[in-house]
C-alpha cells in the first residue's frame, strides 16, 4: 500500500491538467475573469502541495508507483515519481512563479477563451512532472509536453517576428527531442529498463561501453539545447524576445534552468556509474559553461531590444549554472539549485519590467525609451535593484547560489571558470543597469536619428493598472532577498546529497567574499562606460572600441536568425560532446 505522503505526488501534476481540461470544455461559458482565478488557484495549490511534499522529503526521497506497479527483485515494470527535497522545492518555486505570472498577466489578453491559461497550465504540469519523474521515457514525455506548450505560447501573438522566432524555437527543440529519444533508446537497449535506479545499476555493472557514452552524449546534448548552452543557444534569444512578456517570465525563469536541472539529475543519478562519463563531465560542463557565461554576457551588452538583452543575460546565467554542475560536488550542484531559484526570481522580475514598459510606453527599445520611464519610477527602482542582484550584489538567494558555485569551482582550482562566472554576471548586470539608467534617469547621449529601432513596432495591452503589473514583480524581488540564508545553508548539504544520491556532505564552501563586490563594481563601471562613453577622454575609449569591434561584428554575424545556421551549429555541438567523450 502506498502511504500518506507518497499519495500526494501525482496531485501537483494532475491538478493543473484537470483545471486545464475544465477551462477548455467550459471556456465559452465562463464569465470574464474566471479562467484567471482558476489558473491562479491551480498554480498556488501546486506550489503549496510541492512545498508540503518537499518538507516530508527532507527525511528521505518519497516514491510513488503509478497503478501500484512496484519493482520486484530488481525488475522495474512500472513508472514512478521519486521526489527528493531539492526537486520538491524546485517544483514549489515553479508553482509560485506561475501564480505570480498569472497575476501579472491578469487582463493581459482580451477574449482569449482561456487559451493562454490552458497552455500555461499544461506547461506547468509538464514542468512539475519533469522534476518529479524517475523514468527516462517519462522524462522525455514531459520534455516534449513542455516543448509543445512553449512553442504554441511563443507564437501566441501571431505577429511576423514572433512566428519566425517560434519556428526557430520549434525546429531546434524538436531536434533536441529526437536526440533525447535516440539516447533513451540506446540506454534502454543496454540496461533493459527505463527506471533511473535500474539504469544506474546496469551502467555501474557494465564498465566502459560506447553505447552508454553515446546515450549520454545524445541525452546531454538535448538537455543542453533546452538549457541554451553554447553552441545550442541561438534559439533562445529569438524565442524569448518575441514571446508575450508573461511567457518570457516563465521561459527565462524556469524552463531554461529546468533543462540544466534535468542534466544535473541525469548525470548524477543515471550515469553515476560510468567512469567515462564522469571523467568527461568536468571538462565538458565547466568548459562550455564558462564560455557560455562570457558569450551571453557580451551579447547582452550589445543589445538595445530589452527582451533580447534579457534573453542573452539568461544564456550567460545558464552558463554559470552549468559550470556549477560541472564541479560534480555537493557544493556545486547545491549552489546550482539555489541559483536556479534566485535567478528565476530576479530574471522573472526583469521580464515583468520589460512587459510594463511595453504596456505603458509602447516600446521595448532602450534608445527610444530614453528618459520615458520617469513617470513610472517605482519600476525603475525595481529594475536597478534587479540589475545589481544580477551582477552579484551580496544579498539574497541568487548571491548565495553564486557564492556556492564559486566556492565549488575555487576549491577544485578552476580559476578560469571562477573568473568567467564573475565576469559573465558583471556583463549582464552592466547591460541591465545601463538600460535602467537610460530609461528611468534619461542618462546617456541624446539618440537623435538613432532612435528608430531596428525591431518591430511592438506594444502590449495598455489598460492595466501599473500596480497590478508591478506588485508580482516586486514580490519576486522581495522573495529573492527575503529567503533566509541560514535556512538554505542548513538544509542544502542534506538536500544536495539526496539529489545526487550521495552520502551527506558537511557544510558547503563559499567562494571568496570579495568576488561578488568586484563583479558589482565591474557591472557599474560597464554601465557607466556604456552611458557616458562620449564624455570620456579619447585615450580610454579608443583602445576599447578598436579591440571590440571585430569580434562584436563576428558575434552579431553568427546570431543570424537563420534556422539553417542553427542546425549546423547543433551538429557541431553534438560532435564536440562526442569527441570529448571519446577522448577521455
Amino acid at each position: 500500500m502506498t502511504a500518506f505522503p507518497a499519495l500526494l505526488l501525482p496531485l501537483p501534476v494532475a491538478i493543473p491538467l484537470v483545471v486545464c481540461a475544465v477551462i477548455l470544455t467550459t471556456a465559452h461559458l465562463l464569465p470574464g475573469r474566471l479562467p484567471d482565478i482558476l489558473a491562479i488557484g491551480a498554480a498556488v495549490s501546486v506550489a503549496v502541495l510541492c512545498a508540503v511534499i518537499a518538507r516530508y522529503a527532507a527525511q528521505g526521497p518519497i516514491v510513488y508507483w503509478f497503478g501500484g506497479w512496484e519493482p520486484h527483485d530488481g525488475v522495474y515494470l512500472g513508472i514512478g515519481f521519486s521526489v527528493d527535497e531539492a526537486s520538491g522545492w524546485i517544483a514549489a518555486f515553479i508553482g509560485m512563479l506561475y501564480a505570480l505570472t498569472f497575476v501579472f498577466a491578469w487582463g493581459f489578453f482580451d477574449r482569449t477563451h482561456g487559451h493562454f491559461h490552458i497552455l500555461m497550465l499544461l506547461f506547468l504540469a509538464a514542468m512539475v512532472g519533469f522534476s518529479f519523474t524517475r523514468d527516462m521515457f517519462n522524462l522525455f514525455v514531459w520534455f516534449e509536453v513542455m516543448s509543445v506548450a512553449a512553442f504554441a505560447l511563443t507564437a501566441y501573438h501571431l505577429a511576423e517576428s514572433s512566428l519566425a522566432g517560434a519556428i526557430n524555437f520549434t525546429v531546434v527543440n524538436s531536434l533536441a527531442g529526437f536526440l533525447m529519444l535516440g539516447g533513451i533508446g540506446l540506454i534502454y537497449a543496454q540496461a533493459g529498463t527505463l527506471d533511473f535506479e535500474g539504469i544506474a545499476a546496469a551502467v555501474a555493472r557494465g564498465g566502459r561501453d560506447p553505447v552508454v557514452a553515446g546515450a549520454f552524449c545524445l541525452v546531454a546534448a538535448a538537455l543542453m539545447i533546452k538549457g541554451a548552452i553554447v553552441p545550442f543557444q541561438f534559439w533562445l534569444a529569438d524565442a524569448h524576445a518575441v514571446a508575450p512578456s508573461p511567457v518570457s517570465v516563465i521561459f527565462s525563469g524556469s524552463m531554461v534552468s529546468l533543462g540544466l536541472f534535468g542534466l544535473a539529475k541525469v548525470s548524477a543519478v543515471v550515469f553515476a556509474g560510468s567512469a567515462q562519463v564522469q571523467q568527461a563531465l568536468p571538462i565538458l560542463l565547466i568548459g562550455l559553461g564558462s564560455f557560455t557565461a562570457l558569450l551571453g554576457g557580451w551579447m547582452a551588452l550589445l543589445q538595445r531590444h530589452l527582451k533580447r538583452m534579457l534573453a542573452f543575460s539568461t544564456i550567460s546565467h545558464a552558463g554559470i549554472m552549468l559550470a556549477g554542475i560541472g564541479a560534480l560536488t555537493a557544493g556545486g550542484t547545491g549552489g546550482m539549485l539555489v541559483y536556479v531559484v534566485g535567478h528565476g526570481l530576479v530574471k522573472g522580475a526583469l521580464f515583468m519590467i520589460a512587459g510594463i514598459l511595453l504596456a505603458t510606453q509602447a516600446s521595448i527599445d532602450e534608445i527610444a525609451l530614453r528618459g520615458l520611464g520617469r513617470g513610472i519610477w517605482p519600476a525603475g527602482i525595481a529594475m536597478a535593484l534587479a540589475g545589481l542582484l544580477l551582477s552579484g550584489l551580496p544579498l539574497g538567494a541568487l548571491d548565495q547560489g553564486t557564492r556556492l558555485v564559486q566556492g565549488a569551482l575555487s576549491q577544485q582550482g578552476h580559476g578560469i571558470a571562477l573568473a568567467a562566472t564573475a565576469v559573465g554576471a558583471a556583463l549582464t548586470g552592466a547591460a541591465v543597469l545601463r538600460a535602467a539608467g537610460r530609461i528611468f534617469l534619461g542618462l546617456g547621449p541624446d539618440p537623435g536619428d538613432e532612435a528608430g529601432a531596428p525591431s518591430e513596432d511592438e506594444r502590449e495591452k495598455a489598460n492595466r493598472p501599473l500596480w497590478l503589473m508591478l506588485a508580482p514583480c516586486c514580490a519576486l524581488l522581495a522573495l529573492d532577498v527575503a529567503i533566509p540564508p541560514e535556512l538554505i545553508a542548513h538544509a542544502l548539504p542534506r538536500a544536495a546529497a539526496a539529489f545526487m544520491h550521495q552520502p551527506a556532505a558537511g557544510a558547503l564552501v563559499e567562494g571568496p567574499a570579495w568576488l561578488p563586490w568586484a563583479s558589482v563594481a565591474a557591472g557599474l563601471a560597464g554601465a557607466g562606460y556604456g552611458l557616458f562613453r562620449n564624455r570620456l577622454p579619447k585615450i580610454v575609449v579608443q583602445p576599447v572600441s578598436a579591440t571590440q569591434s571585430a569580434p562584436t561584428r563576428a558575434l552579431e554575424f553568427l546570431h543570424s536568425g537563420l534556422i539553417g545556421d542553427y542546425a549546423a551549429w547543433l551538429a557541431v555541438g553534438v560532435a564536440g560532446i562526442a569527441a570529448v567523450l571519446a577522448m577521455v
Partner: protein
C-alpha cells in the same frame, strides 16, 4: 542486432539535418525535420527487434513465444504522436508566417532583423488580435 540499423539511423539524421541547414523553404524544412525523426523510428525499432520472433500480440500464440520488445514499440508509437503534433504545429506557424510575411524563405523571415520590409505595417497585433487568430 547488426550494425545496419545504427548506420541507417545516423545517415537519416545526418541527411535530415543537412536538409534543414540548407533549406530555403519552410515546407521543405518541415519535411526534413520528418526525415530526422524517422532516424529515431529506425533506431528504436532496430534496437527492439529480435530475429525469429513474433509481434508482441499473444492472441493466437501461446504465452512464452519469443516476441520483439514491446517497450520499444510503445516508444515508437509515442514518438509518432509527438511527430504528428510537431508537424501540425510547424505547418500552422508556416501558414501564418506566409500570410504575414508573404514568403516561405527563412532568409526573409528572420526574427529581430533590420532591413526587412513591411515590418511595421503588418505587426499591430495585440492581445485582442491574437485572440481572434487563436480561435
Amino acid at each position: 542486432m547488426s550494425v545496419l540499423p545504427y548506420a541507417v539511423a545516423a545517415w537519416l539524421f545526418g541527411v535530415g539535418l543537412y536538409g534543414i541547414a540548407t533549406s530555403r523553404n519552410f515546407i521543405h524544412l518541415v519535411g526534413c525535420l520528418g526525415v530526422c525523426q524517422s532516424a529515431t523510428y529506425v533506431l528504436l525499432l532496430g534496437l527492439g527487434y529480435r530475429w525469429g520472433s513474433i509481434a508482441p500480440i499473444f492472441y493466437d500464440h501461446p504465452p512464452g513465444t519469443p516476441a520483439v520488445d514491446p517497450v520499444m514499440q510503445a516508444l515508437v508509437l509515442t514518438d509518432i504522436v509527438v511527430g504528428a503534433t510537431l508537424t501540425a504545429l510547424l505547418l500552422v506557424l508556416t501558414v501564418q508566417a506566409h500570410k504575414r510575411g508573404g514568403s516561405l524563405d527563412p532568409e526573409k523571415l528572420r526574427p529581430m532583423r533590420a532591413g526587412r520590409k513591411s515590418g511595421r505595417s503588418q505587426d499591430t497585433s495585440r492581445g485582442d488580435e491574437a485572440a481572434r487568430g487563436a480561435r
